[in-house]
């Protein structure tokens, strides 16, 4: 009896999940409640965790409760601390959750909610969560070493350097695309620009307090910081309404770009306690709080989905981003389904805090399921607003024009009937002059969140507050990611350059610091600027590059996991990592190839360059260029993007080949060859 009851419970859950999924997948023409999606997702997560994650833990990896983890072995109360598993879950989740799962699903909603939901669920269960969990396990068994180090020791030194270089390039693209999202959200928005600018003095105040007044008291000053932030949002409304002050905070895209580049440089060379750390605390707490709040909001309001399950844009003609469902949907939603960047976190601080190997499934697999749920919520938020408003916000001005009248005409022709009044009214509701062509996901998500949250707290009058709260919440942790990322990129770069010029390895020396920081800022600043001046919105170009890069890193991590499985002589379970690796390689290599070589100038960089070259030869000037020099600039940018894409393809193909070589060598050996540290004693760890 005892063993039957729980099983019956799981069967009931499976039935509930199947019914919800059927409702989500099969309803056509009538709108459904978002709760169906949420129920389907939670059922899938629970079943996947109970059956697949524990299967991987017990059968595939044989996690060993008696084996010493680095946290126990090297316990120093600082870097290595055996940590309660729920507390570590929070730490790990806070480290992996960022803007990615909030933006990708919003962009993917142009094809309808169904493809996004299905990919998020299937991707996380079979690829994303598997990757995070396996890398955590592999790193834990190797003294908590980093991904680059793991690749070096299991695949060889050359793939190690290639992976390090690939990770740096991915970092550059991530920073550029994140910064672009902020620029898109704050352009011509004095309210948004004021509140985001206000975070800098607030953070500095917190930093000084924690350094000198009451050192280390995070809680009290974070509450003060939060109250000041809310005050800044309210004051921002006054600023935007004031004819004297509003112009001081009204910036165009280029101005914001230069401000962000300057800010990124300064913030990443300042001492961390002054600006970076306090803002990180604020943004982490705000992020977790808002995610929980949004979940509660969705449960209370249970909004109806306005977006159809599938739109006609599944054929690849959509205005938000170009390209067909396969492969582009699978790179548009990266984080939330599978994110290679997590491999860096799972081999960062988390393995050094893991108390016991048996906690790895909860933290690695479970943490990623949680991130996936954030992606589901973002998709719900984007799908519960009027589709006409969605397309007005996310389509480039080059396609729908600049006024509400033009935009509503074009969008209504697509079959999403919307009046100009609705567009201007929505803008007025959220306290903005216009919402047209605010690409990048963040503003759309903010409208969606405001739509949900104002029904819980405050009513219509609070909609503008909630919109700017959501913008602030995203901008805050994106900016934290930008300066933390610039810093991390600087260390990566110094490490890379140090391989050739040893002096560069000295991270405390001023000249290498400034040079590496400058290079890093220039690299992402270049792509950011290019994105900002692009008449198609830039997200069009940069987001696919980011998606390709991020998924390729995931493929690299899964290749590593496959190699380790074979080296452990567990190749009969290798399908667990081989299947998602093959899928990711298929998506990313196809997408990467198409981005470089596709004949359509909307998709392929080279054909876009050819189109502009041909026009330039005829003496014509095509938008966005306004002169012959700018035509040359557009062509040059196309070649840079194509080269970058080709570099990503090279990185992933070469590491896959090195992986295959390592697998063949491991199969030839008649005993396990995985380079795990000993059961009890181990070597001192080297971390970069």
């Amino acid at each position: 009896m005892k063993s039957v009851l729980p099983k019956l419970g799981w069967v009931a859950l499976a039935v509930l999940g199947a019914i919800s999924l059927a409702v989500v997948a099969l309803s056509r023409g009538e709108s459904i409640s978002a709760l169906w999606i949420v129920t389907a997702a939670i059922s899938v997560y629970l079943i996947a965790y109970r059956y697949y994650a524990l299967f991987i833990a017990k059968r595939v990896l044989s996690v060993d409760a008696k084996r010493l983890t680095p946290a126990v072995k090297y316990n120093d109360g600082l870097d290595y601390v055996p940590t309660n598993k729920y507390i570590l879950f929070g730490h790990h989740f806070a480290a992996i959750a960022g803007a990615g799962p909030l933006v990708g699903p919003v962009l993917a909603a142009q094809m309808g909610y169904l493809p996004g939901v299905l990919w998020i669920l299937a991707g996380v269960v079979f690829a994303g969560a598997v990757q995070d969990f396996m890398v955590l396990f592999i790193s834990t068994r190797r003294d908590g070493r980093s991904l680059g180090d793991l690749i070096k020791s299991e695949l060889g030194p050359i793939p190690g350097v290639i992976a390090l270089f690939g990770a740096f390039m991915i970092m550059v693209i991530i920073l550029a695309v994140l910064a672009l999202i902020v620029v898109k959200a704050l352009t011509d928005s004095p309210w948004g620009a004021f509140t985001v600018a206000a975070t800098i003095p607030i953070a500095i105040l917190m930093g000084i307090y924690m350094r000198f007044i009451r050192p280390g008291h995070i809680g009290e000053i974070s509450i003060v910081g939060f109250v000041l932030l809310m005050g800044a949002i309210l004051l921002g409304g006054q600023v935007a309404a004031s004819p004297t002050w509003a112009p001081y905070f009204t910036f165009d895209g280029k101005q914001l770009t230069w401000m962000l580049i300057g800010y990124g440089f300064v913030a990443s060379v300042l001492p961390v306690w002054l600006l970076l750390a306090p803002r990180d605390y604020l943004s982490t707490f705000l992020k977790i709080g808002t995610i929980l709040g949004l979940a509660v909001g969705i449960f209370i309001v249970s909004p109806q989905l306005q977006m159809p399950a599938l739109t006609k844009f599944v054929d690849g003609t959509g205005p938000v981003w170009s390209g067909s469902l396969f492969p582009f949907l699978f790179i548009t939603i990266a984080c939330g389904a599978v994110s290679g960047f997590h491999a860096l976190i799972s081999s960062g601080t988390t393995p050094k805090l893991l108390e016991n190997e048996t906690h790895a499934p909860l933290i690695g697999y479970g943490g990623m399921l949680m991130e996936s749920f954030v992606a589901i919520m973002a998709l719900v938020a984007a799908s519960c607003i009027d589709p006409g408003v969605y397309f007005a916000m996310n389509s480039p001005a080059a396609v729908i024009g600049k006024t509400a009248v033009e935009a509503s005409q074009v969008i209504s022709q697509w079959g999403f009937v919307v009046t100009p009044d609705v567009l201007t009214q929505t803008a007025a509701d959220v306290g903005e002059k216009t919402i047209i062509s605010r690409a990048g996901g963040a503003p759309t998500l903010a409208v969606g969140m405001a739509h949900i949250l104002h029904q819980v707290v405050g009513g219509k009058a609070m909609m503008a507050f909630w919109y700017h709260f959501a913008i602030l919440f995203e901008a805050l942790f994106i900016l934290t990611a930008v300066d933390a990322g610039t810093r991390a990129g600087r260390f990566m770069l110094q490490d890379l350059l140090g391989t050739f010029v040893p002096h560069f390895k000295r991270t405390e020396a001023l000249v290498p610091n400034l040079v590496a920081t400058g290079l890093c800022v220039t690299a992402w600043g270049y792509f950011l600027y290019q994105g900002v001046i692009d008449p198609l919105g830039g997200i069009n170009t940069l987001w696919p590059l980011f998606g390709v890069a991020n998924q390729m890193l995931a493929a690299v991590a899964l290749v590593l996991a496959t190699v380790v499985l074979v080296k452990m002589k567990r190749q009969r379970y290798a399908w667990v990592t081989v299947v998602p690796t093959v899928w990711l390689l298929a998506c990313t290599l196809t997408a990467g190839w198409m981005k470089v070589f596709d004949a359509s100038p909307k998709v392929g960089f080279l054909s876009h360059a050819a189109k502009f070259s041909a026009a330039a030869a005829r003496g014509e000037v095509l938008a966005p260029a306004k002169s012959v020099e700018q035509m040359q600039q557009v062509i040059f940018n196309d070649y840079v993007d194509a080269t970058l894409c080709a570099i990503f393809i090279f990185v992933v193909v070469s590491i896959t080949l090195f992986g295959i070589r390592a697998i063949v060598l491991a199969l030839r050996s008649d005993k396990p060859t995985a380079k795990e540290v000993d059961y009890g004693s181990g070597v001192a760890t080297q971390v970069f």
Binding site: N75, D76, G77, L78, D79, V81, T83, Y86, I87, G90, H91, A94, A95, I96, A97, G98, A99, G100, S146, M171, I174, M210, R211, P215, G216, I218, G219, V272, W273, L276, A277, D280, Y281, T284, F285, I288, A334, C335, S339, F341, H342, L344, I345, G348, T349, L353, T480, A481, A484, G485, R487, A488, G489, F491, M492, D495, T507, N550, V687, F688
Partner: protein
């Protein structure tokens, strides 16, 4: 009941600090006292600063 609530609050505080990379100070002090009795544990202030530097001193950035 109140004891449970107090413990709950303690856990939540620890979880919140760990989210921003600050491990538990009492655990650290206890660790030093039991395993390295000859060493003087850092004061809370020193500990806090050391951890703050460590969190942002490496090549692992924030996630996207």
């Amino acid at each position: 009941m109140f004891k449970d609530l107090a413990r709950m609050g303690e856990y939540l505080g620890q979880a919140a600090r760990m989210m921003v990379g600050q491990p538990d100070y009492d655990t650290y002090v206890q660790h030093i006292r039991t395993t390295h009795p000859e060493r003087r544990p850092m004061s809370y202030e020193e500990f806090f600063r050391e951890r703050q530097e460590a969190r942002f001193g490496g090549a692992t950035g924030k996630c996207c």
